[in-house]
């Protein structure tokens, strides 16, 4: 088993924690699995890559594809990648670091969703609000 994904389905955010190695053999399945696990009512996804040992261009493609898929549903993607992660090497060599919404820890990623979550909790019926959440990086 090269990699595994664990899901924490929270009221407004899905935290997907990826472990192992991501390459051509599993990237597409992982991307699809995260999309499947994310309910339409979620504000977005936190993809935690802290425990990923290896991620190549197929993995980077996964991130872009997932972001596209989520955006089409009005949902956001935040990545958790600590500075000493080997994933940082991949993103740097592919020169995509600047284009991706990266936070160093899951706590910070969740905090970034907090304002939008608070708003969603106040007016759960107002689906349209989800397109313009406040106080978090535009993804």
């Amino acid at each position: 088993m090269l990699a595994d994904v664990q899901f924490d389905i929270r009221p407004h955010v899905v935290v997907a924690t990826l472990t192992g190695e991501v390459d051509l053999s599993n990237a597409t399945q992982i991307c699809d699995a995260i999309g499947e696990a994310t309910p339409n009512t979620a504000l977005g996804v936190v993809l935690d890559l802290s425990s990923v040992d290896y991620l190549d261009s197929a993995g980077i493609h996964l991130i872009y594809r997932l972001r596209e898929n989520l955006r089409a549903r009005g949902q956001k993607l935040l990545l958790v990648i600590p500075s000493d992660s080997p994933v940082q090497d991949s993103l740097r060599l592919a020169a995509v670091t600047q284009h991706l919404p990266i936070t160093p820890s899951a706590a910070e990623a969740l905090a970034a969703f907090a304002p939008a979550e608070a708003e969603a909790a106040e007016s759960p019926a107002k689906d349209s609000d989800r397109d313009t959440p406040q106080g978090e990086p535009a993804v």
Binding site: D23, S57, L93, A95
Partner: protein, 552 residues
């Protein structure tokens, strides 16, 4: 079978049935006996139940000059007689006639263990409609008994009215006496045979169908049933997260289907706990807890090790199992393990772990006791013999072959045997790999490259970046490989004066970056390596990458 106790009986005298006095030892004419004597032929004890029954039918029909012969066997589970073989009334068998004990002609013979003659079927208590439909007029039957146990009923019939007498009974008794033990033996044998066959199928289906192929690691395994059938020995190879390989072996005490089924349970439990990523000691402890909860708690031992092909590190834990052996160019011997209790032996058992390193080229051999335990030989001697037997082997497969050839006696094994070998394949300085163009091989290639780079004193930055570049080049080869059937690609790696040169050749046409994905892959290769050449060859594309190691 005691022929002397048999006598003919008719349930209702005067209703077409004839009572005869108890049979006295009666000598049938020589030709009758000659026909029946064939039933004592030793060769007949070798044939299967069906052939034996056929032989009985033919000979009885000849000797008594009757139109029908039938054998019903007693099924103790349902207390019924089941038509098993017939001549002249084949429908009995075809329709699977079953007669309850005590009912009708055959049922009464069996229940009361008496011989019965019926002169006129029309006036008798006959259950089986086939006998009437076939227009059988007269019947004679007797029970088949072996050592006091009823095994069935043998009966003959005539289409013309006939009064079967003592003389006919005597002939039938001779036939029954000769054949009953053979039937019993054949039946027991076929039951055993069936159990044996099922157990072998079960055992096979419970063992891994094919071993996980891991680049850089050689794995081979064997399972051999004992002479008398399968047991509870097993092995497993588990691909774990983070590129680790789990190897396990175990033994559930016992034989046959039960041991095989329990073995399956223990193996699956270990496999599942191992996949959760637990270390070997904890994995065995969890299996121990699982075994504690099993209703039919087996006596079981196991050994489980996790191997890191990148570093050669091996973590081993055992639960009452024999110590694996390690051998290679510079050492050979059993691993000294702190003994731990078998699985399920004590509540909250604990399994200490042993850390060791498999040097390049070394192998670890796990086995079950059947391989090294010989009557009259010390265990240490058996392990020494195993070491001697395999010392010249150059691959995991050869180790298995040598051990099987040298340690399995020609007459077969008393106990079943499992063995599993893991070979830490050497990574040569001049690395050349021929690889299946399959995404599944990429992780293994990366592991070999990482190890090769570390052995060239590359630092972690070198290792990560060069591995990424090689991974991208290989992914490209896999994506572009086109051929009907299996496709391959090649990887060469050399180092000279601190500069590594890695070439990846595929059998496909290089395609221009298609979409962002491939474009990023090429960007990664360009950024990670100092020099990149892309050359179309006659068969495909070659990419040659160079980089000076930082430490150099």
């Amino acid at each position: 079978m005691t022929t002397g106790s048999q006598h003919l009986e008719t349930p209702q005298p005067g209703a077409g049935q004839v009572v005869l006095p108890p049979a006295s030892p009666y000598l049938a004419p020589a030709d009758q006996l000659r026909i029946l004597s064939g039933l004592s032929d030793p060769a007949l004890s070798e044939v299967g139940l069906d052939e034996l029954l056929d032989e009985v039918l033919v000979r009885v029909q000849q000797a008594l000059e009757v139109d029908t012969v039938a054998i019903l066997l007693y099924d103790p589970e349902t207390h019924q007689l089941v038509a098993r073989a017939a001549k002249g009334i084949e429908e009995e068998v075809e329709q699977g006639v079953r007669v309850p004990l005590g009912k009708g002609f055959a049922g009464r013979i069996a229940a009361e263990r008496v011989a019965i003659a019926i002169a006129d079927v029309d006036h008798a208590d006959i259950l089986n409609p086939i006998l009437r439909e076939k227009r059988i007029r007269s019947l004679l039957g007797l029970p088949l008994v072996v050592e006091g146990d009823l095994i069935g009923v043998l009966h003959v019939g005539s289409l013309v009215p006939r009064i079967f007498g003592e003389r006919d009974l005597a002939v039938l008794q001779v036939a029954a006496a000769r054949v009953a033990p053979g039937i019993e033996r054949a039946r027991l044998y076929s039951a055993l045979e069936r159990e044996h066959r099922l157990a072998v199928v079960l055992q096979r289906s419970l063992l891994p169908r094919e071993l996980a192929g891991v680049v850089g690691v050689g794995v081979a395994a064997r399972y051999l049933p004992a002479r008398d059938g399968v047991g509870g020995d097993w092995y497993d190879v588990i691909e774990l997260p983070h590129g680790l390989v789990g190897i396990a072996i175990g033994d559930v005490v016992g034989h046959g289907m039960r041991a095989a089924a329990l073995m399956g349970e223990v193996r699956f439990a270990l496999h599942a706990y191992a996949l959760e990523g637990h270390a070997p000691g904890r994995t065995l402890e969890l299996v121990d807890r699982y075994v504690q909860t099993m209703r039919e708690r087996p006596m079981a031992t196991a050994a489980y090790a996790v191997f890191d092909a990148e570093t050669g590190r091996l973590t081993l834990a055992t639960a009452g199992h024999l110590p694996p052996i390690i051998f290679g160019p510079t050492r050979a011997g059993a691993i000294e393990v702190e003994p731990a209790a078998p699985l399920g032996a004590f509540p909250y058992g604990n399994c200490p772990e042993h850390e060791l390193t498999l040097a390049s080229g070394e192998m670890i051999v796990m086995y079950t006791d059947g391989l090294v335990e010989r009557r009259g030989t010390a265990l240490a001697q058996g392990i020494d013999d195993l070491l001697t037997m395999v010392s010249a082997a150059g691959s995991a497969e050869q180790v298995c072959r040598s051990a099987m050839r040298g340690l399995v006696p020609p007459e077969g094994l008393d106990d079943d045997v499992a063995m599993l070998v893991l070979h830490n394949l050497p990574v040569p300085a001049q690395l050349r790999m021929h690889l299946a163009a399959d995404p599944g091989t990429l992780a293994g290639v990366r592991r070999v490259i990482r190890r090769w780079l570390r052995e060239r004193d590359a630092d972690s930055g070198d290792v990560n970046e060069i591995t990424l570049a090689v991974g991208e080049a290989c992914a490209n080869a896999v994506e572009h490989a086109y051929s009907p059937g299996p496709a391959w690609f090649e990887l060469d790696a050399t180092e000279s004066d601190g500069e590594v040169t890695i070439a990846v050749r595929d059998t496909g046409r290089w395609r221009e970056a298609r979409g962002d994905n491939r474009g990023r892959g090429l960007r990664i290769i360009d950024a990670a390596m100092s020099d990149v050449e892309l050359t179309p060859t006659s068969t495909g594309t070659e990419i040659v990458m160079r980089r000076r190691l930082r430490a150099a």
